[in-house]
């Protein structure tokens, strides 16, 4: 299979981007205050990462939104084995965003376990394009 990136651009291709370009991960906005993009139900306010047309909880209409950058760790771990092309260590955590859904994030420091109840802030994306979080007090 051949790469689909244009040879005329300098843009670095994402290492793990499949040729068809579908990326199911949550989108993170650019800028100094990045935020996770999703939808919110206009009837029951349920937040969803997927770009759904109808709320999976109540069936109500949704509108696009961004969520708070801050959140609380539900739980986290550091994976110490390769996952496909990814090399360990890999810090992974479920983050409950303050006004939003539970999102799987990467710890900015791949060696550091993000512990349950720790406060974290979204700092952007990893090199591989995953939402990246740093614990409050951790240098960024």
């Amino acid at each position: 299979m051949t790469a689909t990136t244009s040879p005329t651009t300098d843009e670095k291709p994402r290492r793990d981007a499949p040729p068809e370009g579908y990326d199911p991960r949550p989108r993170v906005t650019d800028g100094i205050e990045p935020a996770v993009v999703g939808t919110r139900c206009t009837a029951c306010a349920h937040p969803t990462l997927e770009d759904v047309e109808r709320c999976p909880v109540c069936g109500g209409p949704t509108r696009p939104t961004t969520f708070a950058r801050t959140g609380t760790v539900f739980s986290g771990t550091v994976l110490r084995i390769p996952v496909g092309d990814r090399q360990p260590p890999i810090s992974l955590a479920y983050i409950d965003l303050d006004d939003g859904p539970r999102v799987l994030g990467h710890g900015q420091d791949p060696e550091r376990v993000l512990r349950p109840h720790e406060r974290v802030t979204l700092v952007g994306e990893t090199d591989e394009g995953d939402p990246a979080f740093a614990a409050d007090g951790e240098s960024r």
Partner: protein, 377 residues
């Protein structure tokens, strides 16, 4: 009329990629058919489970046994694929569609993967590197923080199950371990070490299901239940998988008219030590947060009040996804017939099988099956 398991069979479990799915499946199905007293020409329909083995695998295997010209339905339900096939076979008999139904599962993990399972890249979390050990590592970390579940309590599950597996000639790993050895082994996903994670394994397992026929070795299916997980999101206070196991078990127990305390022997999904802790809680063997005490206190050992995983579990067998659930069914059938030698639970009459599988982000598990089986009085 009640539905019974007439016969069961499995291949050996272990890394045996040179054998391929057809030979493994023949081992399991031939044993199950002989056990049931059913000729290959007597099978009316086949429900099969596999996750990663390729399109047409089941028909490719079955033709080598001469099982052709019948309905063959292959299901994929992650780790619960084999038990989902079993559930569908039981339901087909119960509803009168067929009389002799083969449930079979196969997985050649070492053919598909060079080391561990690579998560699905069309899944939002799989694409982010969420492998199965990290899901369970997070559950273990949450239990440590919320309930004080200790590394030693987790290790006690591995000590128990590997200890039982020593007596299972079909297990992939037959060596006892100590708590110290478990905790000193290589870290995979904090706080889970490698001796708390099931290994890669190739195998097949099968069961023949039909209406009751007054055969003394037949095992009655008191109930099976199957459901997918609910939404698992910021509203969920329990760890991943707890609710779907609880709700599926509640449905199966209600149909069977029994409770967890009535059950003599369990085979549950211990892909990781914390999985057994969470599952035994969700089945009702301990209050929320106290499942860590069960193995350490001896409640779930062979001679304990509620023996869990006398076969050695997934930790000892390894985890060939499609085969696992039917291997659990086979172990419970053998236990209820009193055939398991040094790993026998004395006088076991009522047994439970539980399998829960996942991988799809946002829900509390792709699927869970709980079956309640009863031996002859």
């Amino acid at each position: 009329m009640s539905t019974v398991v007439r016969g069961v069979g499995t291949s050996a479990f272990g890394k045996q990629s040179h054998r391929g799915a057809p030979a493994l499946l023949r081992d399991a199905v031939t044993e199950a058919l002989d056990d049931a007293g059913t000729p290959t020409t007597g099978i009316d329909a086949v429900f099969a489970g596999t996750v990663f083995d390729g399109p047409g695998t089941i028909q490719r295997c079955l033709q080598t046994l001469g099982i052709v010209g019948v309905p063959v339905v292959t299901v994929e339900n992650a780790c619960a694929s084999g038990t989902t096939a079993f559930h569908e076979a039981v339901e087909a008999v119960r509803l009168g569609r067929y009389e002799n139904v083969l449930a079979v599962g196969v997985e050649t993990m070492t053919h598909t993967f060079s080391s561990s399972i690579v998560p699905e890249d069309t899944d939002r979390e799989g694409r982010s590197g969420m492998a199965m050990p990290s899901i369970y590592g997070m559950a273990a970390a949450r239990y440590a923080a919320e309930f004080g579940t200790t590394p030693e309590q987790l290790a006690a599950v591995a000590v128990k199950n590997f200890g039982n597996g020593v007596h299972n000639p079909r297990a992939a790993r037959r060596r006892g371990v100590s708590v110290e050895e478990v905790l000193a082994s290589r870290m995979i996903a904090d706080p889970l070490t490698v001796l708390q994670c099931c290994g890669m394994s190739d195998a097949a397992a099968a069961a023949v299901v039909g209406p009751a026929r007054n055969a003394p070795d037949d095992v009655t299916v008191r109930a099976t239940a199957l459901r997918s997980g609910g939404l698992w999101d910021h509203r969920s206070t329990k760890v991943w998988g707890w609710d779907v196991v609880h709700d599926t078990a509640a449905a199966a127990f209600e149909t069977a008219g029994v409770g967890a305390s009535d059950v003599d022997v369990f085979e549950v999904h211990d892909a990781f030590t914390i999985g057994e802790v969470v599952t035994t809680e969700a089945l009702g063997l301990a209050p929320l947060g106290e499942g860590g005490r069960l193995a350490a206190a001896g409640v779930t050992t062979l001679s304990g009040r509620s023996p869990v995983n006398p076969s050695g579990g997934l930790l000892s067998r390894g985890h060939p996804l499609g085969a696992t659930g039917l291997a659990q069914v086979a172990e419970i059938v053998w236990q209820l017939r009193g055939l398991t030698g040094a790993r026998q639970v004395d006088g076991a009459r009522l047994g439970v099988v539980e399998t829960m599988g996942g991988g799809a982000a946002g829900i509390d598990g792709n699927g869970c099956v709980v079956a309640v089986l009863e031996g002859a009085a």
